[in-house]
Amino acid sequence: MGVGIEVKDLNAWFAKAQVLKDVSIKVGANAVTAVIGPSGCGKSTFIRCLNRMHETIPEARLTGSVRVGEMDVYEPGIIAADVRRRIGMVFQKPNPFPTMSIYDNVSAGLRLNGYNKRHELDAAVEGSLRMAALWDEVKDVLKKKSGSSLSGGQQQRLCIARALAVQPELLLMDEPCSALDPISTGKIEELIFQLKAEYTVVIVTHNMQQAARVADQTGFFLMGKLIEFDKTEKIFTTPTDKRTEDYITGRFG
C-alpha cells in the first residue's frame, strides 16, 4: 500500500549553490503527483531528496525534514539504504545492469539485499514483469538475454519492474519517458495509471501534457521554489499564481 509524503522547509545545495528554497509539500498516498517546471528549477533535486540520493553527490547538502509515511527519512540513525529500499526510483535514461540477464536485473534488488530463495525470486520476477507489462515480451528469454539487449522502451519497463520487485511503498520517476518514443511512452503512462492503486507515485516531467494525462495532483517549481501545488485540473485550467499560468501557457519554459 502506498504512503503519503510530508516535506517541511526543504533547502538543498550543491556546494555553495542553493537549488531548493523552503519547499514544503504534502503528497497524498495512492495518488500520482506530477512535478513540473522549466529546466534547472530543482525538480529532479527535489525527488532525489526524498530517497536520499541527493547526498550521494559529493558536496551536496540539505536541511529540512522529509517524512515518508511515519519515517523521518533524515533522522540520525536511519540508514540511507533502508530508506531507499522503501522507495523505488526510475531514472531518466534507462539503466539496466548491462552484465546481468533480464531475470538477474529484475531480481537484483532482492538478491543483493539477501533474499535468495529460488521460488520467491521467480514469483517476484514474474509479478514485477507482469506489472510492468513486459512479461509476455521477455518470458522466453529471461536468462538468455542481457538487460541491455532490449529496446529503449523495453529497457525502461525493465527498470520499472526492477524497482517494483522490492515492493516499495513509493515510486519516484525522474522524467521516465523523455528518452522514449510515443508508443513506449503511452505504455508507461498506462502503467503509471494502474500502479497508483498500490503505490504512491511522484513523477517529474517536463511534458505538461503528460502531467495532465496521468497526475492527480501537480506541483509547479520555479528556480528552486514550489510556486503552486494543487489538483492537476486546477493547475492547468485556473492556476492561482501568475507564474504558473505563464509557464503552462508557454510564455516561458
Binding site: 530508506v83 531507499r84 523505488g88 543483493l112 541491455s148 529496446s151 522490492v166
Partner: protein
C-alpha cells in the same frame, strides 16, 4: 577559397593511402617479433620436449635425461602465491581509488602505485630478501611469492581503477536506488560490470611476472630437487632456464630452450583458461 564541392584531390588521396599503409605496416611489425620469438622457441625447444622432461627432476650434468618437473611445478606454486597476494590487494586498492577515495590520499596512493610499477624487478627481489628471507633465515617459495605479488599489485590496481571509472554513474545510482548497501553495490554491480577489464588487468600482471627471474634469485633461490614446501627454496622455470642457459653444457642448453617454450605455453594456457572460464554463461548482448 577552395570549393568543398570539388572531388578530393589526388595528392590528398595519396597521402591518405600512405598513412593507412604505414599504420598497417606498424601493426605487422608488432606481430613479427612475437611470431618470430614463438617460432624460434618451437624450433629449438620442441625437440627436447618429451614426457621425461615434464615429469623428471634435473640429473647431474653429464647424465642424459632428466627434466624440469620441479621448476614447472615450482613456478606454478610461486605464481599461485603471488596471485593470492597481488590480486586481492591490487583489486582492493583499485576499488578504493575509484569508488571511495577523496582528495589527497588517493593521489598519494596512485602515485605510489605508479612508482612501484617502475621499480626494477631486481630491486624488488633485494627488498624482499631483506624483509622476508633474512628474518626467516632461509630462502623460500613464500618469499618468491611475496616478491611477485608486490610486482603484480600496481598493474592490477591501476587497471582496476581505470575500468571502474569507465562504469557509468547511472549504474551506481540504479544500484543505490534499489536500497543495496554501498559495499554490495560496489562489489556485485559496479565491479561486476567492469569485470572483463579487471580480469584482463590481472592476467596482464600475471603474464608479466610469470617470466621474472631477478626477483626470484634472492628469494625462491631455485632448487635442483623436488620441493613443494612453501618454506623451502623452490625451483622456478625462469631461474632454471637462466642457470642452464649460462652453463657450458649442450644438454642443458637444449633443456633451457624446452623450458622457455614450456614457460610461454603455460602462460598462454593460463590466460586462455581464465578467458574461457569467465566467458561461460555469457548471454546475448544484441537485440
Amino acid at each position: 577559397m577552395p570549393s568543398l564541392s570539388r572531388p578530393v584531390s589526388l595528392a590528398r588521396r595519396f597521402k591518405n593511402m600512405c598513412f593507412v599503409g604505414l599504420s598497417g605496416l606498424a601493426a605487422t611489425l608488432v606481430l613479427a617479433p612475437l611470431a618470430a620469438i614463438f617460432a624460434y622457441l618451437v624450433y629449438k625447444g620442441v625437440g627436447s620436449l618429451n614426457w621425461d622432461f615434464l615429469t623428471h627432476t634435473p640429473r647431474p650434468v653429464g647424465e642424459p635425461g632428466g627434466g624440469m618437473a620441479n621448476a614447472i611445478v615450482g613456478s606454478m606454486i610461486i605464481l599461485g602465491m603471488g596471485s593470492a597476494i597481488g590480486v586481492p590487494l591490487g583489486i582492493g586498492s583499485g576499488i578504493y581509488m575509484a569508488e571511495f577515495g577523496r582528495g589527497r590520499y588517493v593521489t598519494l596512493v596512485r602515485f605510489t602505485a605508479d612508482v612501484l610499477n617502475g621499480i626494477p624487478s631486481i630491486v624488488v627481489g633485494i627488498a624482499v630478501y631483506a624483509l622476508v628471507v633474512l628474518p626467516q633465515q632461509h630462502f623460500s617459495a613464500f618469499s618468491g611469492g611475496v616478491a611477485l605479488g608486490i610486482m603484480m599489485i600496481p598493474t592490477i590496481a591501476r587497471t582496476t581503477e581505470e575500468m571502474l571509472l569507465m562504469v557509468p554513474n547511472t549504474i551506481r545510482e540504479a544500484a543505490l536506488g534499489l536500497g543495496i548497501p554501498q559495499w554490495r553495490a560496489t562489489l556485485q554491480v559496479t565491479l561486476r560490470t567492469a569485470s572483463k577489464g579487471v580480469i584482463t588487468g590481472a592476467m596482464l600482471a600475471f603474464a608479466r611476472v610469470a617470466g621474472e627471474t631477478a626477483p626470484l634469485l634472492f628469494t625462491a633461490f631455485g632448487n635442483q630437487f623436488w620441493s613443494v614446501k612453501p618454506n623451502q627454496p623452490i625451483a622456478a622455470l625462469p631461474i632454471q632456464i637462466f642457470a642452464y642457459a649460462i652453463s657450458p653444457f649442450d644438454e642443458w642448453h637444449r633443456q633451457a630452450w624446452a623450458g622457455a617454450l614450456i614457460l610461454i605455453v603455460l602462460i598462454v594456457v593460463a590466460v586462455s583458461a581464465v578467458r574461457v572460464v569467465t566467458s561461460r554463461g555469457n548471454m546475448e548482448n544484441n537485440a
